[in-house]
Symmetry: C2
Subunit: 258 residues, 2 copies
């Protein structure tokens, strides 16, 4: 009956970073894990006893990690595959199912549970006000796994349709010019005063928020830990009495707006 004693995989979204933004459900799953798998900074974020095995890995090896998780689960371990934010939004969830889809038939018998988390885009939006008040899209700017032409086609379609755009993976050392190209493209579609926000490391000690507009948005202020939010013509800035600002997108859309 060893097959009955088979292990399982939890795919866990740890939330944006602050412990109070991780759900009790995620915490309970992590408490059951015998093994932790993920990108090293996320594995390091998990509190666990010395008996828990930590398999921390570099960035960009998602499929290797996913296969490792399936092998460990089949060997009877309880594996927590961890991602920051929500694991389903440019995190490890898709990689785990891709590995299972292309792996040995036995992997389709593994018990997999995905535990949702507060994604970076939701945390950034909350910190800014309510910029996602209307329809919106979430796009990764990375061209590691998709052609840059597809990224540009999607950005243009979204801006043209009046969607607020949240950009993940906006910039890295290997791709220093891509955000600038994207902003140049969006400037051909959107009015120059459309608000743009750079929300870095929201909920963590090194949090930083920059509010600008698309005419003045400077890619040099953005790094890989930054969530870029590009408003639509219905995104407004409110001047607070304390000198700060709130950002929100109107829920009401007129016929002239798309």
């Amino acid at each position: 009956m060893t097959q009955q004693a088979a292990g399982r995989i939890f795919i866990v979204g740890l939330g944006p970073g602050a412990p109070e933004q991780m759900t009790p459900q995620a915490r309970a799953a992590l408490a059951q894990a015998t093994d932790l798998i993920g990108y090293a900074p996320y594995v390091a974020r998990v509190e666990a006893g010395p008996e828990v095995v930590r398999h921390a890995s570099d960035n960009r090896v998602e499929l290797d990690r996913a296969r490792h998780a399936a092998e460990l689960a089949l060997a009877g371990r309880s594996v927590a595959v961890v991602s920051g934010g929500d694991a389903g939004v440019f995190g490890m969830a898709s990689a785990v199912f891709e590995a299972i889809d292309h792996g040995p038939a036995a992997w389709r018998g593994v018990d997999v549970t995905v535990i949702p988390g507060v994604s970076a885009v939701l945390a950034a939006a909350a910190r800014l006000g309510a910029p996602l008040g209307g329809d919106f899209c979430v796009i990764s700017l990375s061209d590691n796994l998709k052609p840059r032409a597809v990224v540009h086609r999607r950005l243009a379609a979204a801006a043209d349709a009046g969607l607020v755009i949240a950009l993940y993976n906006p910039r890295s050392k290997a791709r220093p010019d891509q955000l600038g190209e994207a902003l140049d493209l969006l400037r051909t579609i959107l009015p120059g005063d459309v608000p743009v926000a750079f929300a870095r490391a929201i909920g963590r000690p090194d949090e930083r928020v920059i509010l600008t507009d698309i005419a003045h948005a400077d890619p040099e202020q953005v790094d890989m830990s930054t969530l870029v939010l590009i408003g639509c013509p219905l995104t407004h800035v409110i001047d607070r009495a304390d000198g700060g600002k709130w950002l929100y997108t109107s829920r009401r859309v007129e016929e002239s707006c798309a």
Copy 2:
């Protein structure tokens, strides 16, 4: 110095429904509230002592609720404005800032904190597998606040650009035909075998999930509590060993896909 003792507003995302999916941050904010404001079923979900005043209201009176919250806060109360899921995603957050933007100047001095939550789209995606593994958009199908032509333009643009589409407010008694129209439109753009999921009341006792494809998707199986997920050509179905299915979207996009 009574102005220093002014109240505040927490805009709180309660999560999908299960208590273990509400963040500790949300719970802490609710514990500070003297007043709860929101759509009646969400206010009812909050545990609070008898000293906490519950201002439950009907659907579709978001701006009235928002103004009420600002008035109470200015009178020194600590108000929690609550929404299901994440308050920034078709919840109360945008309405509160819209009210402040168009309200008396004093409202810009109110202390407002938005507490993000696990949104319905993230909970539904986790329940299904990893359908949001690529770029995606979140669109409300309701035409209460925007023309139907805008909704259709956005749906067509998103499908054409290869985005996975999450639909909020897909159907109500007042709008029985709109989801059918949207699906008919999407059938002219997407291959018939693109997966479609109806995820109803995820994380609650009356949860129900239906997995189909766009050729066969039946609007009659959808109500207002359902999140509709429409895949893209890169969304795949995996047959599990136990007879169930997982849904995931490939992270890798070829040049031919958009």
